[in-house]
Protein backbone atom coordinates (compact mmCIF):
# COMPACT_ATOMS: atom_id res chain seq x y z
CA UNK A 1 0.00 0.00 0.00
CA UNK A 2 2.74 2.45 0.95
CA UNK A 3 4.59 1.48 -2.18
CA UNK A 4 1.49 2.32 -4.22
CA UNK A 5 1.18 5.71 -2.52
CA UNK A 6 4.86 6.53 -2.91
CA UNK A 7 4.71 5.87 -6.62
CA UNK A 8 1.31 7.48 -7.12
CA UNK A 9 2.51 10.84 -8.40
CA UNK A 10 5.92 12.45 -8.41
CA UNK A 11 6.28 15.83 -6.72
CA UNK A 12 8.45 17.03 -9.59
CA UNK A 13 5.52 16.42 -11.96
CA UNK A 14 3.36 19.06 -10.23
CA UNK A 15 3.01 22.51 -11.78
CA UNK A 16 5.58 24.99 -10.52
CA UNK A 17 3.44 28.12 -10.49
CA UNK A 18 4.72 31.20 -8.68
CA UNK A 19 2.71 32.39 -5.70
CA UNK A 20 0.39 35.24 -6.74
CA UNK A 21 2.35 38.44 -6.25
CA UNK A 22 1.37 41.39 -4.08
CA UNK A 23 3.23 44.42 -5.47
CA UNK A 24 3.91 47.14 -2.89
CA UNK A 25 5.76 50.40 -3.58
CA UNK A 26 7.00 52.57 -0.76
CA UNK A 27 7.10 56.08 -2.21
CA UNK A 28 9.16 57.99 0.35
CA UNK A 29 9.93 61.64 0.86
CA UNK A 30 13.66 62.00 1.65
CA UNK A 31 13.80 65.79 1.34
CA UNK A 32 15.84 67.88 3.77
CA UNK A 33 12.87 68.39 6.09
CA UNK A 34 12.92 64.64 6.85
CA UNK A 35 16.41 64.89 8.36
CA UNK A 36 16.99 63.81 11.97
CA UNK A 37 14.51 61.68 13.89
CA UNK A 38 12.10 61.28 10.96
CA UNK A 39 14.57 59.68 8.56
CA UNK A 40 16.06 57.63 11.40
CA UNK A 41 12.65 56.22 12.32
CA UNK A 42 11.76 55.70 8.66
CA UNK A 43 14.91 53.61 8.17
CA UNK A 44 14.06 51.59 11.27
CA UNK A 45 10.47 51.17 10.06
CA UNK A 46 11.65 49.73 6.74
CA UNK A 47 13.98 47.31 8.54
CA UNK A 48 11.10 46.18 10.77
CA UNK A 49 8.82 45.81 7.75
CA UNK A 50 11.33 43.59 5.94
CA UNK A 51 11.84 41.47 9.06
CA UNK A 52 8.11 41.16 9.63
CA UNK A 53 7.41 40.07 6.06
CA UNK A 54 10.32 37.63 6.11
CA UNK A 55 8.77 35.97 9.17
CA UNK A 56 5.33 35.56 7.59
CA UNK A 57 4.97 32.35 5.58
CA UNK A 58 2.45 33.85 3.14
CA UNK A 59 3.73 37.42 2.81
CA UNK A 60 7.30 36.17 2.35
CA UNK A 61 6.40 34.32 -0.85
CA UNK A 62 3.98 36.93 -2.18
CA UNK A 63 5.21 40.43 -1.31
CA UNK A 64 6.97 42.09 -4.23
CA UNK A 65 8.44 45.29 -2.83
CA UNK A 66 9.97 48.33 -4.48
CA UNK A 67 11.10 51.64 -3.00
CA UNK A 68 10.94 54.99 -4.79
CA UNK A 69 12.43 58.02 -3.04
CA UNK A 70 11.98 61.63 -3.94
CA UNK A 71 13.74 64.82 -2.96
CA UNK A 72 14.74 67.15 -5.79
CA UNK A 73 15.66 63.99 -7.67
CA UNK A 74 13.50 60.88 -7.99
CA UNK A 75 15.12 57.46 -7.62
CA UNK A 76 14.11 53.83 -7.77
CA UNK A 77 16.41 52.70 -4.99
CA UNK A 78 14.93 49.20 -4.63
CA UNK A 79 13.42 47.44 -7.66
CA UNK A 80 10.65 44.87 -7.24
CA UNK A 81 11.73 41.61 -5.68
CA UNK A 82 10.66 39.26 -2.92
CA UNK A 83 11.95 39.91 0.55
CA UNK A 84 14.51 37.11 0.46
CA UNK A 85 16.75 39.00 -1.95
CA UNK A 86 16.53 42.32 -0.15
CA UNK A 87 18.56 44.21 2.43
CA UNK A 88 16.92 47.29 3.93
CA UNK A 89 18.32 50.55 2.49
CA UNK A 90 19.59 53.41 4.64
CA UNK A 91 17.95 56.60 3.44
CA UNK A 92 19.48 60.05 3.73
CA UNK A 93 17.55 63.32 3.69
CA UNK A 94 18.49 66.23 1.40
CA UNK A 95 17.17 68.85 -1.05
CA UNK A 96 13.57 69.62 -2.10
CA UNK A 97 10.28 67.71 -2.43
CA UNK A 98 9.44 66.43 -5.96
CA UNK A 99 6.35 64.55 -4.75
CA UNK A 100 4.59 64.62 -8.12
CA UNK A 101 7.54 63.08 -9.91
CA UNK A 102 7.89 60.49 -7.16
CA UNK A 103 4.24 59.46 -7.53
CA UNK A 104 4.59 59.36 -11.29
CA UNK A 105 7.57 57.01 -11.10
CA UNK A 106 5.74 54.79 -8.57
CA UNK A 107 2.62 54.52 -10.75
CA UNK A 108 4.60 53.87 -13.93
CA UNK A 109 6.70 51.28 -12.18
CA UNK A 110 3.60 49.55 -10.78
CA UNK A 111 2.06 49.37 -14.26
CA UNK A 112 5.29 48.06 -15.77
CA UNK A 113 5.42 45.38 -13.10
CA UNK A 114 1.88 44.29 -13.94
CA UNK A 115 2.87 44.01 -17.61
CA UNK A 116 5.78 41.78 -16.59
CA UNK A 117 3.47 39.58 -14.50
CA UNK A 118 1.12 39.20 -17.44
CA UNK A 119 3.95 38.37 -19.83
CA UNK A 120 5.16 35.58 -17.54
CA UNK A 121 1.69 34.30 -16.66
CA UNK A 122 2.09 35.23 -12.99
CA UNK A 123 -1.08 35.90 -11.02
CA UNK A 124 -1.03 39.10 -9.01
CA UNK A 125 -3.04 41.25 -6.68
CA UNK A 126 -3.45 44.91 -7.53
CA UNK A 127 -0.56 47.21 -6.50
CA UNK A 128 -0.49 49.31 -3.34
CA UNK A 129 1.57 52.49 -3.14
CA UNK A 130 2.36 53.90 0.30
CA UNK A 131 3.21 57.58 -0.02
CA UNK A 132 5.00 59.13 2.96
CA UNK A 133 5.81 62.83 3.01
CA UNK A 134 6.32 65.57 5.56
CA UNK A 135 6.22 68.65 3.39
CA UNK A 136 4.67 70.61 0.58
CA UNK A 137 5.54 69.48 -2.97
CA UNK A 138 7.77 71.64 -5.08
CA UNK A 139 6.32 70.26 -8.32
CA UNK A 140 2.59 70.99 -8.10
CA UNK A 141 2.30 70.95 -11.89
CA UNK A 142 3.39 67.32 -11.98
CA UNK A 143 1.13 66.51 -9.01
CA UNK A 144 -1.87 67.92 -10.89
CA UNK A 145 -0.85 65.88 -13.91
CA UNK A 146 -0.46 62.56 -12.11
CA UNK A 147 -3.45 62.66 -9.73
CA UNK A 148 -6.14 62.11 -12.42
CA UNK A 149 -4.19 59.04 -13.60
CA UNK A 150 -4.08 57.67 -10.04
CA UNK A 151 -7.75 58.39 -9.47
CA UNK A 152 -8.78 56.66 -12.70
CA UNK A 153 -6.79 53.55 -11.77
CA UNK A 154 -8.23 53.59 -8.25
CA UNK A 155 -11.79 53.81 -9.52
CA UNK A 156 -11.15 50.71 -11.62
CA UNK A 157 -9.62 49.10 -8.52
CA UNK A 158 -6.33 48.62 -10.34
CA UNK A 159 -4.32 50.56 -7.77
CA UNK A 160 -4.57 51.97 -4.25
CA UNK A 161 -2.45 54.82 -2.95
CA UNK A 162 -2.26 55.16 0.83
CA UNK A 163 -1.21 58.75 1.70
CA UNK A 164 0.66 59.21 4.97
CA UNK A 165 1.52 62.71 6.15
CA UNK A 166 4.28 63.13 8.70
CA UNK A 167 4.32 65.99 11.19
CA UNK A 168 2.42 69.27 10.90
CA UNK A 169 4.14 71.11 8.05
CA UNK A 170 1.86 69.55 5.44
CA UNK A 171 -0.46 70.61 2.67
CA UNK A 172 -3.43 68.86 4.27
CA UNK A 173 -5.82 69.83 1.49
CA UNK A 174 -3.51 68.27 -1.09
CA UNK A 175 -3.00 65.10 0.94
CA UNK A 176 -6.75 64.58 1.09
CA UNK A 177 -6.90 64.56 -2.72
CA UNK A 178 -4.10 62.03 -3.31
CA UNK A 179 -6.42 59.01 -3.18
CA UNK A 180 -10.09 58.51 -3.91
CA UNK A 181 -10.07 55.21 -2.02
CA UNK A 182 -7.87 55.58 1.07
CA UNK A 183 -8.09 58.46 3.51
CA UNK A 184 -5.06 60.52 4.38
CA UNK A 185 -3.23 59.34 7.51
CA UNK A 186 -1.30 61.88 9.55
CA UNK A 187 1.44 60.73 11.88
CA UNK A 188 2.42 63.19 14.58
CA UNK A 189 4.73 61.03 16.64
CA UNK A 190 7.17 60.19 13.87
CA UNK A 191 6.88 56.57 15.00
CA UNK A 192 6.38 54.21 12.08
CA UNK A 193 6.28 51.00 14.08
CA UNK A 194 2.50 50.59 14.20
CA UNK A 195 2.13 51.63 10.58
CA UNK A 196 4.64 49.10 9.30
CA UNK A 197 3.22 46.38 11.54
CA UNK A 198 -0.19 47.02 9.96
CA UNK A 199 1.34 47.08 6.50
CA UNK A 200 3.05 43.73 7.00
CA UNK A 201 -0.18 42.20 8.29
CA UNK A 202 -2.12 43.63 5.35
CA UNK A 203 0.32 42.19 2.81
CA UNK A 204 -0.10 38.83 4.52
CA UNK A 205 -3.89 39.15 4.34
CA UNK A 206 -3.79 39.94 0.63
CA UNK A 207 -1.26 37.15 -0.02
CA UNK A 208 -3.53 34.58 1.66
CA UNK A 209 -6.72 35.69 -0.03
CA UNK A 210 -8.15 33.20 -2.52
CA UNK A 211 -10.93 33.93 -4.97
CA UNK A 212 -13.66 36.43 -4.40
CA UNK A 213 -16.74 37.47 -6.24
CA UNK A 214 -16.63 40.14 -8.90
CA UNK A 215 -19.90 41.41 -7.56
CA UNK A 216 -18.95 41.68 -3.95
CA UNK A 217 -18.09 45.00 -2.44
CA UNK A 218 -15.94 43.35 0.22
CA UNK A 219 -13.10 42.05 -1.87
CA UNK A 220 -9.67 41.94 -0.34
CA UNK A 221 -8.39 45.31 -1.48
CA UNK A 222 -11.61 46.95 -0.29
CA UNK A 223 -11.20 45.28 3.07
CA UNK A 224 -7.66 46.61 3.38
CA UNK A 225 -8.81 50.11 2.42
CA UNK A 226 -11.76 49.88 4.80
CA UNK A 227 -9.50 48.79 7.65
CA UNK A 228 -7.15 51.63 6.83
CA UNK A 229 -9.97 54.15 6.80
CA UNK A 230 -11.40 52.68 10.03
CA UNK A 231 -8.04 53.12 11.75
CA UNK A 232 -8.18 56.76 10.79
CA UNK A 233 -11.67 57.04 12.26
Amino acid sequence: MNMAIDRFIDESDLADNPTPRTPVILCLDVSFSMAGEKIKNLNKGIRDLYASIANDQYARMSADIAIVTFETEVRLIEDFSTIESKTPPTLQAKNGTALGHGLEMAVNHANARKDAYKMHGTDYHQPMIFLMTDGKPGDMGKVREVLPIIHALEREKKLTVFPIGIGSDLDEALMRTISVRANNMRIETVNFKDLFTWLSRSISTVAMSPSESAEQSSETSDLIVKEWNDILG
Binding site: M1, A4, I5, F8, I9, D10, E11, D13, L14, A15, D16, N17, P18, P20, Y58, K114, H120, G121, T122, D123, Y124, H125, Q126, K157, K158, M208, S209, P210, S211, E212, S213, A214, E215, Q216, S218, E219, T220, S221, L223
Partner: protein
Protein backbone atom coordinates in the same frame (compact mmCIF):
# COMPACT_ATOMS: atom_id res chain seq x y z
CA UNK B 1 -17.34 -2.74 -22.81
CA UNK B 2 -15.43 -0.36 -20.56
CA UNK B 3 -15.72 0.18 -16.85
CA UNK B 4 -15.85 3.64 -15.31
CA UNK B 5 -15.00 4.70 -11.81
CA UNK B 6 -15.27 8.02 -9.96
CA UNK B 7 -13.27 9.43 -7.06
CA UNK B 8 -13.21 12.65 -5.02
CA UNK B 9 -10.84 14.11 -2.47
CA UNK B 10 -10.73 17.33 -0.43
CA UNK B 11 -8.21 18.99 1.91
CA UNK B 12 -8.57 22.09 4.08
CA UNK B 13 -6.04 24.78 3.13
CA UNK B 14 -3.33 25.91 5.53
CA UNK B 15 -4.73 29.46 5.64
CA UNK B 16 -8.10 28.21 6.90
CA UNK B 17 -6.46 25.77 9.32
CA UNK B 18 -4.34 28.61 10.75
CA UNK B 19 -7.43 30.77 11.24
CA UNK B 20 -9.56 27.93 12.61
CA UNK B 21 -11.94 28.32 9.69
CA UNK B 22 -13.80 25.48 7.95
CA UNK B 23 -12.88 24.16 4.53
CA UNK B 24 -14.88 26.19 2.02
CA UNK B 25 -14.57 23.71 -0.85
CA UNK B 26 -17.09 20.93 -1.45
CA UNK B 27 -16.77 17.99 -3.84
CA UNK B 28 -18.85 14.95 -4.86
CA UNK B 29 -18.43 11.94 -7.14
CA UNK B 30 -21.09 9.47 -8.28
CA UNK B 31 -21.01 6.40 -10.51
CA UNK B 32 -24.04 4.23 -10.99
CA UNK B 33 -25.94 2.52 -13.81
CA UNK B 34 -23.49 3.76 -16.40
CA UNK B 35 -23.75 7.40 -15.34
CA UNK B 36 -20.76 9.22 -13.84
CA UNK B 37 -21.11 12.66 -12.23
CA UNK B 38 -18.39 14.76 -10.60
CA UNK B 39 -18.99 18.16 -9.01
CA UNK B 40 -16.82 20.66 -7.13
CA UNK B 41 -17.50 24.10 -5.65
CA UNK B 42 -15.33 26.70 -3.95
CA UNK B 43 -16.98 28.96 -1.39
CA UNK B 44 -15.73 32.54 -1.50
CA UNK B 45 -13.31 33.31 1.29
CA UNK B 46 -14.90 36.65 2.08
CA UNK B 47 -18.34 35.06 2.60
CA UNK B 48 -19.14 34.02 6.16
CA UNK B 49 -21.25 31.01 5.20
CA UNK B 50 -19.46 30.02 2.02
CA UNK B 51 -18.81 26.46 3.25
CA UNK B 52 -22.55 25.89 3.54
CA UNK B 53 -23.07 27.50 0.13
CA UNK B 54 -20.50 25.20 -1.51
CA UNK B 55 -22.15 22.13 0.04
CA UNK B 56 -25.59 23.19 -1.15
CA UNK B 57 -24.26 23.93 -4.64
CA UNK B 58 -22.65 20.50 -5.07
CA UNK B 59 -25.57 18.63 -3.51
CA UNK B 60 -28.22 20.28 -5.70
CA UNK B 61 -26.08 19.96 -8.84
CA UNK B 62 -25.38 16.29 -8.24
CA UNK B 63 -29.06 15.51 -7.59
CA UNK B 64 -30.13 17.47 -10.64
CA UNK B 65 -27.65 15.86 -13.05
CA UNK B 66 -28.41 12.31 -11.89
CA UNK B 67 -32.11 12.92 -12.52
CA UNK B 68 -31.92 15.06 -15.65
CA UNK B 69 -28.91 13.73 -17.59
CA UNK B 70 -30.80 11.30 -19.84
CA UNK B 71 -33.42 13.89 -20.77
CA UNK B 72 -30.82 16.57 -21.45
CA UNK B 73 -28.70 14.48 -23.83
CA UNK B 74 -31.74 12.87 -25.49
CA UNK B 75 -33.39 16.18 -26.33
CA UNK B 76 -30.23 18.32 -26.43
CA UNK B 77 -32.10 20.90 -24.35
CA UNK B 78 -30.69 23.96 -22.62
CA UNK B 79 -30.62 23.47 -18.87
CA UNK B 80 -28.44 26.16 -17.34
CA UNK B 81 -31.35 28.30 -16.11
CA UNK B 82 -33.14 25.26 -14.69
CA UNK B 83 -30.03 24.11 -12.80
CA UNK B 84 -29.00 27.54 -11.55
CA UNK B 85 -32.61 28.27 -10.60
CA UNK B 86 -32.65 25.17 -8.41
CA UNK B 87 -29.31 26.06 -6.83
CA UNK B 88 -30.44 29.61 -6.09
CA UNK B 89 -33.76 28.40 -4.67
CA UNK B 90 -31.87 26.07 -2.34
CA UNK B 91 -29.58 28.92 -1.27
CA UNK B 92 -32.57 31.19 -0.75
CA UNK B 93 -34.37 28.60 1.37
CA UNK B 94 -31.28 27.96 3.49
CA UNK B 95 -30.62 31.68 3.95
CA UNK B 96 -34.24 32.24 5.00
CA UNK B 97 -34.13 29.33 7.49
CA UNK B 98 -30.89 30.54 9.03
CA UNK B 99 -31.73 34.25 8.86
CA UNK B 100 -28.58 35.03 6.89
CA UNK B 101 -27.78 37.02 3.75
CA UNK B 102 -27.95 34.81 0.65
CA UNK B 103 -24.81 36.54 -0.67
CA UNK B 104 -22.87 35.04 2.24
CA UNK B 105 -23.33 31.62 0.56
CA UNK B 106 -21.54 32.38 -2.71
CA UNK B 107 -19.52 29.67 -4.42
CA UNK B 108 -18.11 28.71 -7.78
CA UNK B 109 -19.19 25.51 -9.57
CA UNK B 110 -17.62 22.94 -11.90
CA UNK B 111 -19.27 19.69 -13.00
CA UNK B 112 -19.11 16.86 -15.53
CA UNK B 113 -21.76 14.22 -16.17
CA UNK B 114 -21.40 11.44 -18.73
CA UNK B 115 -22.52 8.00 -19.75
CA UNK B 116 -20.79 5.87 -22.37
CA UNK B 117 -22.17 7.97 -25.24
CA UNK B 118 -22.48 11.63 -24.17
CA UNK B 119 -20.94 14.12 -21.80
CA UNK B 120 -22.00 17.50 -20.49
CA UNK B 121 -19.80 19.84 -18.49
CA UNK B 122 -20.32 23.21 -16.87
CA UNK B 123 -18.32 25.85 -15.03
CA UNK B 124 -18.95 29.09 -13.21
CA UNK B 125 -15.90 30.83 -11.76
CA UNK B 126 -12.28 29.87 -11.35
CA UNK B 127 -12.42 26.07 -11.14
CA UNK B 128 -10.91 24.01 -13.94
CA UNK B 129 -12.30 21.09 -15.97
CA UNK B 130 -9.98 18.67 -17.75
CA UNK B 131 -10.55 15.94 -20.33
CA UNK B 132 -8.32 12.87 -20.76
CA UNK B 133 -7.80 11.13 -24.11
CA UNK B 134 -5.08 9.33 -26.03
CA UNK B 135 -3.13 12.58 -26.42
CA UNK B 136 -3.09 13.45 -22.72
CA UNK B 137 -5.11 15.71 -20.45
CA UNK B 138 -6.49 18.92 -21.95
CA UNK B 139 -8.21 21.91 -20.39
CA UNK B 140 -11.88 21.65 -21.33
CA UNK B 141 -13.07 24.74 -19.45
CA UNK B 142 -11.20 27.36 -17.48
CA UNK B 143 -11.79 30.96 -16.48
CA UNK B 144 -9.93 33.59 -18.46
CA UNK B 145 -8.16 35.61 -15.79
CA UNK B 146 -8.86 39.31 -15.66
CA UNK B 147 -6.74 41.94 -13.94
CA UNK B 148 -8.60 41.31 -10.71
CA UNK B 149 -7.34 37.87 -9.74
CA UNK B 150 -9.15 38.03 -6.44
CA UNK B 151 -12.49 38.22 -8.26
CA UNK B 152 -14.44 35.36 -9.77
CA UNK B 153 -17.99 34.56 -10.80
CA UNK B 154 -20.34 32.54 -8.64
CA UNK B 155 -23.64 30.67 -8.87
CA UNK B 156 -25.26 33.87 -7.60
CA UNK B 157 -23.62 36.16 -10.18
CA UNK B 158 -26.01 38.35 -12.15
CA UNK B 159 -26.38 37.17 -15.74
CA UNK B 160 -25.89 33.43 -15.79
CA UNK B 161 -25.72 33.34 -19.59
CA UNK B 162 -22.58 35.46 -19.43
CA UNK B 163 -20.78 33.69 -16.61
CA UNK B 164 -21.62 30.00 -17.10
CA UNK B 165 -19.68 27.88 -19.58
CA UNK B 166 -21.61 24.76 -20.68
CA UNK B 167 -20.50 22.20 -23.25
CA UNK B 168 -22.07 18.98 -24.51
CA UNK B 169 -20.52 16.35 -26.75
CA UNK B 170 -19.92 12.70 -27.59
CA UNK B 171 -17.65 10.39 -25.59
CA UNK B 172 -15.62 9.04 -28.52
CA UNK B 173 -11.98 8.81 -27.57
CA UNK B 174 -12.47 10.22 -24.07
CA UNK B 175 -11.02 8.20 -21.19
CA UNK B 176 -11.64 10.51 -18.26
CA UNK B 177 -12.68 13.85 -16.82
CA UNK B 178 -11.49 15.90 -13.88
CA UNK B 179 -12.96 18.89 -12.03
CA UNK B 180 -10.98 20.89 -9.49
CA UNK B 181 -11.09 24.12 -7.53
CA UNK B 182 -8.45 26.81 -8.01
CA UNK B 183 -6.40 25.62 -5.03
CA UNK B 184 -5.84 22.23 -6.66
CA UNK B 185 -5.31 23.87 -10.04
CA UNK B 186 -2.37 25.77 -8.57
CA UNK B 187 -0.56 22.43 -8.29
CA UNK B 188 -1.90 20.71 -11.40
CA UNK B 189 -2.27 23.45 -14.05
CA UNK B 190 0.69 25.41 -15.42
CA UNK B 191 -0.43 29.04 -15.40
CA UNK B 192 2.13 30.09 -17.97
CA UNK B 193 0.36 28.22 -20.79
CA UNK B 194 -2.81 26.86 -19.09
CA UNK B 195 -1.85 23.22 -19.57
CA UNK B 196 -2.03 20.34 -17.13
CA UNK B 197 1.14 19.16 -15.42
CA UNK B 198 2.42 15.60 -15.89
CA UNK B 199 1.02 14.70 -12.47
CA UNK B 200 -2.51 14.95 -13.88
CA UNK B 201 -1.73 12.29 -16.48
CA UNK B 202 -0.39 10.07 -13.70
CA UNK B 203 -3.63 10.51 -11.75
CA UNK B 204 -5.58 9.15 -14.72
CA UNK B 205 -3.14 6.35 -15.53
CA UNK B 206 -3.16 5.08 -11.93
CA UNK B 207 -6.96 5.06 -12.08
CA UNK B 208 -6.81 2.45 -14.84
CA UNK B 209 -4.96 -0.15 -12.83
CA UNK B 210 -5.25 0.43 -9.08
CA UNK B 211 -7.81 -1.13 -6.78
CA UNK B 212 -10.56 1.33 -5.86
CA UNK B 213 -9.67 1.44 -2.17
CA UNK B 214 -5.95 1.80 -2.86
CA UNK B 215 -6.52 4.55 -5.38
CA UNK B 216 -8.73 6.46 -3.00
CA UNK B 217 -6.15 6.24 -0.20
CA UNK B 218 -3.33 7.25 -2.54
CA UNK B 219 -5.32 10.20 -3.90
CA UNK B 220 -6.07 11.44 -0.39
CA UNK B 221 -2.41 11.08 0.52
CA UNK B 222 -1.22 12.96 -2.58
CA UNK B 223 -3.68 15.77 -1.90
CA UNK B 224 -2.52 16.16 1.71
CA UNK B 225 1.20 15.55 1.24
CA UNK B 226 1.91 17.20 -2.12
CA UNK B 227 -0.90 19.12 -3.80
CA UNK B 228 -2.13 21.25 -0.89
CA UNK B 229 1.48 22.17 -0.01
CA UNK B 230 1.59 24.24 -3.17
CA UNK B 231 -1.04 26.69 -1.91
CA UNK B 232 -2.63 28.07 1.25
CA UNK B 233 -6.08 27.62 -0.33
CA UNK B 234 -8.49 24.71 0.16
CA UNK B 235 -8.00 21.96 -2.42
CA UNK B 236 -10.57 19.62 -3.92
CA UNK B 237 -10.65 17.33 -6.92
CA UNK B 238 -13.02 14.78 -8.47
CA UNK B 239 -12.33 12.60 -11.46
CA UNK B 240 -13.86 9.85 -13.52
CA UNK B 241 -11.88 7.43 -15.63
CA UNK B 242 -11.85 4.11 -17.37
CA UNK B 243 -10.75 1.06 -15.45
CA UNK B 244 -8.69 -1.37 -17.46
CA UNK B 245 -10.93 -4.10 -18.92
CA UNK B 246 -9.82 -7.73 -18.47
CA UNK B 247 -7.75 -9.24 -21.24
CA UNK B 248 -8.90 -12.51 -22.94
CA UNK B 249 -6.14 -14.49 -21.23
CA UNK B 250 -7.21 -13.10 -17.88
CA UNK B 251 -10.79 -14.16 -18.55
CA UNK B 252 -9.57 -17.69 -19.34
CA UNK B 253 -7.74 -17.81 -16.02
CA UNK B 254 -10.76 -16.45 -14.17
CA UNK B 255 -13.01 -19.10 -15.73
CA UNK B 256 -10.63 -21.89 -14.75
CA UNK B 257 -10.37 -20.57 -11.22
CA UNK B 258 -14.17 -20.33 -11.02
CA UNK B 259 -14.52 -24.01 -11.93
CA UNK B 260 -12.10 -24.92 -9.15
CA UNK B 261 -14.15 -22.93 -6.68
CA UNK B 262 -17.48 -24.31 -7.90
CA UNK B 263 -16.93 -27.86 -9.26
CA UNK B 264 -20.69 -28.46 -8.94
CA UNK B 265 -21.23 -26.06 -11.87
CA UNK B 266 -21.34 -28.56 -14.69
CA UNK B 267 -20.85 -26.25 -17.68
CA UNK B 268 -17.62 -26.36 -19.64
CA UNK B 269 -14.94 -23.69 -19.26
CA UNK B 270 -15.82 -21.96 -22.53
CA UNK B 271 -19.43 -21.43 -21.36
CA UNK B 272 -18.26 -20.18 -17.99
CA UNK B 273 -15.84 -17.81 -19.70
CA UNK B 274 -18.61 -16.47 -21.92
CA UNK B 275 -20.94 -15.98 -18.96
CA UNK B 276 -18.18 -14.33 -16.99
CA UNK B 277 -17.65 -11.83 -19.78
CA UNK B 278 -21.41 -11.16 -19.88
CA UNK B 279 -21.44 -10.86 -16.11
CA UNK B 280 -18.65 -8.30 -16.13
CA UNK B 281 -20.15 -6.31 -18.98
CA UNK B 282 -23.43 -6.11 -17.07
CA UNK B 283 -21.81 -5.25 -13.77
CA UNK B 284 -22.48 -1.80 -12.37
CA UNK B 285 -21.57 -0.33 -9.05
CA UNK B 286 -23.15 -0.94 -6.63
CA UNK B 287 -23.89 -4.42 -7.99
CA UNK B 288 -27.55 -5.33 -8.50
CA UNK B 289 -28.47 -8.95 -9.20
CA UNK B 290 -31.65 -7.93 -10.98
CA UNK B 291 -29.78 -5.57 -13.28
CA UNK B 292 -27.11 -8.17 -14.11
CA UNK B 293 -29.78 -10.80 -14.79
CA UNK B 294 -31.71 -8.49 -17.07
CA UNK B 295 -28.69 -7.28 -19.04
CA UNK B 296 -26.63 -10.49 -19.24
CA UNK B 297 -29.29 -13.19 -19.43
CA UNK B 298 -27.24 -15.39 -17.06
CA UNK B 299 -29.14 -17.64 -14.70
CA UNK B 300 -29.66 -16.28 -11.16
CA UNK B 301 -27.77 -19.23 -9.64
CA UNK B 302 -24.71 -18.53 -11.72
CA UNK B 303 -24.90 -14.80 -11.02
CA UNK B 304 -25.00 -15.61 -7.33
CA UNK B 305 -21.97 -17.92 -7.65
CA UNK B 306 -20.04 -15.34 -9.68
CA UNK B 307 -20.70 -12.68 -7.08
CA UNK B 308 -19.49 -15.13 -4.44
CA UNK B 309 -16.48 -15.90 -6.59
CA UNK B 310 -15.42 -12.29 -6.91
CA UNK B 311 -16.14 -11.57 -3.29
CA UNK B 312 -14.07 -14.61 -2.35
CA UNK B 313 -11.06 -13.44 -4.30
CA UNK B 314 -11.53 -10.02 -2.73
CA UNK B 315 -11.43 -8.02 -5.92
CA UNK B 316 -14.14 -5.81 -7.21
CA UNK B 317 -14.13 -6.62 -10.90
CA UNK B 318 -14.89 -3.16 -12.13
CA UNK B 319 -12.04 -1.65 -10.13
CA UNK B 320 -9.40 -4.25 -10.58
CA UNK B 321 -9.97 -6.03 -13.86
CA UNK B 322 -8.68 -9.56 -13.73
CA UNK B 323 -5.03 -9.10 -14.54
CA UNK B 324 -3.82 -10.27 -11.13
CA UNK B 325 -5.61 -13.60 -11.56
CA UNK B 326 -2.73 -14.80 -13.74
CA UNK B 327 -0.36 -14.53 -10.82
CA UNK B 328 -2.87 -16.15 -8.47
CA UNK B 329 -3.25 -19.17 -10.74
CA UNK B 330 0.51 -19.62 -10.98
CA UNK B 331 0.75 -19.59 -7.19
CA UNK B 332 -1.93 -22.27 -7.08
Amino acid sequence: MVYWTAHASIVTGSAHLADGMPCQDAVRAHQSNGLSVIVSADGLSSCDNAHFGAEITTKVTMRYLIGAFDGIVRTNRQFRHELIGMIRSAHQAYAARQGIDILSLQSTLTFVAHDSHHHILGRIGDGVIGMYDANGVHVASMERKTEQIEMTDTVLSGNIDDVMDIRMGPMEGISGFVVMTDGTAHALVRRSDNTFSDAMVSLFKRLETMRREDYHAALDDAMKRLICKKTSDDCSIALTGIVQAPKPRELDCAARLYIRFFPQDTNRGTVIRKDMKRFMDALVFPASTDHIKRVSGISPDRIYRMILFFERIKWLVRDQGLHRLVMTERRD
